[in-house]
Amino acid sequence: MSSEVLARREAVRTDRTARFERMVEIRALEDAVRGLFAEGLVHGTTHTCQGQEAVSVGVAAALRPTDSVCCTYRGHGMGMALGLTPQQVCGEIMGRVVGSIGGVGGSMHLCETSIGLLPTMAIVGAGVPVAAGAALTAQVRGTDDVAVAVFGDGAANIGAFHEGINIASIWKLPAIFICENNQYGEYSPIAATTPIANIADRAVSYGIPGEVVDGQDVDAVNAAVEAAAARARAGDGPSLLEMKTYRYAGHSRSDTAPYRPAGEFEKWYERDPINTFGARLVAEGLLADGEPEKITARVTEQVDAAVAEVKTADSPGVASMFENVLV
């Protein structure tokens, strides 16, 4: 598994077509996951990221495998962008031993240290200071690794955001704070909870660069994260990047997003990150006409096969709950 994961990690780093494929793969898996839940095949809850694929993949493309990433319960996309396989993600969601952490965590809990993915955290904001800590390791050891926290717009209102970024700034840590502004925290639109238009403006409070980025454009995301990473690796400290994006599905499995104004989804869908990037690759001549659709069909089939395979995988035994409690 690990060599496959590393190869997938590398592909996204080096190949823009692979980035397109990965975005398609994420979308396909997330769609399949919502389907599994709808069918009642899975216990618990899930938080999918359709519409936000460009952020995950653009971030992953800009990072090295030795960099660390802290992300949230809405982590399937980020995990797969970094290299997790559909099996690992779906396996965890379905509670099977093939899951990323052996099926004892569920949808909110993925981890794969070989590609820098720290345990994903289900507590809003928690990853912000944790990423500062991972950056501290790089600074103390004198490596040029960076650490990244990916979190939502809603998380920008919690104390851990404030404390974690402030510490990273005062210690000039090689960290990048990436706010994935998908316009909603659960069922609340950002304007109901956040009194300013751009979370990037909060960088002022910490004396660090803050930038609004088009989160629907994987190239733009990639460029912004690369610049922030270069700055961090050079010892110039952290940055705050706000990726403007949109959550196509509801907050979690049970949410049909009735609170969304009519036409909002459609407006965002016009700039669907997969469609626009596919078109761009065609325009640039990197993909032939019609190839995006073919890739989509192929990748979706592969994902569906992976999901089918997971359905037949073993569940962890009783002993597993006693493992990894204390080292």
Binding site: G159, T193, Y259, A319
Partner: protein, 339 residues
């Protein structure tokens, strides 16, 4: 008397208090427009308006603090913590501020706030969203803690909590939100804090339960073969009804405390310690604790069910206690349990 789900009973309780007292307000994440993530405040925004029913940013320290300040100056806020684990980012306001303000004001400031939180396992939310964490609050002087076990006491305890002049934590087993039951509404439905309910009577053992383990104990007692039990629902965990437990144990001579949480640090230890100090002579068998193991709440339906004490397990443990006169090993201590 009305038949409703537990989440509806909670909304009804808050609504009835809001109707009677303009000082009652409620807020939390998605409490207003969405009617609560678990629909425990459904309809309140529509009836009472946005001044009294509010959505908050994701900022538990912020809005718990707001509850403290509002309560200290005359309102009766009901603040919702969506999953009790999130108190880990806000405990200070409840335990170190709210619970101490009366003392730190020479008795001049009251903090009649309610912190409601959903708790517990069984729904596949994974180990950061499935605990009860009453241990974060038990042992905090100045704080009361109520635990709901179904629609009936959900209504009565919630209203009592809102009326209480102390800060009160109300823990709501998430798995019971959808359970339907009969609810005595109106003032006569209010259940005084500090009083246990004895839900079944028997002779051989006292089963002390709370929250989600109440129905487990009732089912266990129902399935029992050859023994009968007093089943006590503590309802309030702090201060707990010592009198109800001691008088039952004086009669039955045996005690089993059934808890949802891990063995270490569980509230049941307090019950056992108190009973042995007050009623040692009455005991014909060692007081027993039936709990989850000292592990994280696992994901996966079977694992999670195994983690939680089941009615069958309670029946078996009690049976063994009665048969041997000794505290039986926990399931995870038995040979072959983990294979």
């Amino acid at each position: 008397m009305a038949r409703m789900r537990m989440n509806q009973a909670i909304a009804a309780a808050i609504g009835d208090e809001m109707r009677e007292n303009p000082d009652v307000v409620t807020f939390g994440e998605d409490v207003a427009v969405a009617g609560g993530p678990f629909k425990t405040s459904d309809g309140l925004l529509e009836e009472f308006g946005p001044l009294r029913v509010r959505d908050t940013p994701i900022a538990e320290m912020g809005f718990m603090g707001a509850a403290v300040g509002a309560a200290a100056t005359g309102l009766r806020p009901v603040a919702e913590i969506m999953f009790v684990e999130f108190l880990g980012v806000a405990l200070d306001q409840l335990v170190t501020e709210a619970a101490k303000f009366n003392y730190l004001s020479g008795g001049t400031v009251r903090v009649p706030m309610v912190m409601r939180a959903s708790v517990g396992a069984g729904l596949g939310f994974g180990c950061q969203h499935s605990q009860v964490m009453e241990s974060w609050m038990v042992g905090s002087p100045g704080l009361k803690i109520a635990v709901l076990s179904g629609p009936g006491n959900a209504y009565g305890l919630t209203r009592a909590a809102i009326r209480d002049d102390n800060p009160v934590a109300v823990l709501e087993p998430r798995i019971l939100y959808a359970v339907r039951g009969d609810v005595t509404t109106g003032v006569e439905g209010i259940i005084p804090l500090g009083q246990a309910a004895t839900l079944a009577s028997g002779n051989d053992i006292t089963l002390v339960s709370c929250g989600s383990t109440v129905r487990t104990c009732l089912a266990a007692a129902g399935e029992a073969d050859g023994w009968t039990a007093d089943v006590i629902d503590l309802q309030t965990l702090q201060p707990w009804d010592t009198e109800a437990v001691l008088s039952s144990v004086a009669r039955t001579g045996r005690l089993a405390v059934v808890e949802e949480c891990p063995y270490s640090g569980g509230w049941g230890a307090d019950i056992v310690a108190k009973v042995v100090s007050e009623a040692f002579g009455d005991l014909s068998a060692p007081p027993m604790r039936i709990t989850a193991p000292d592990v994280h709440v696992p994901f996966g339906k079977e694992l999670e069910q195994r983690y939680l004490p089941s009615a069958e397990y309670v029946t078996a443990q009690v049976g063994e206690l009665l048969a041997t006169g000794e505290s039986p090993p926990h399931w995870w201590e038995r040979d072959g349990a983990l294979v």
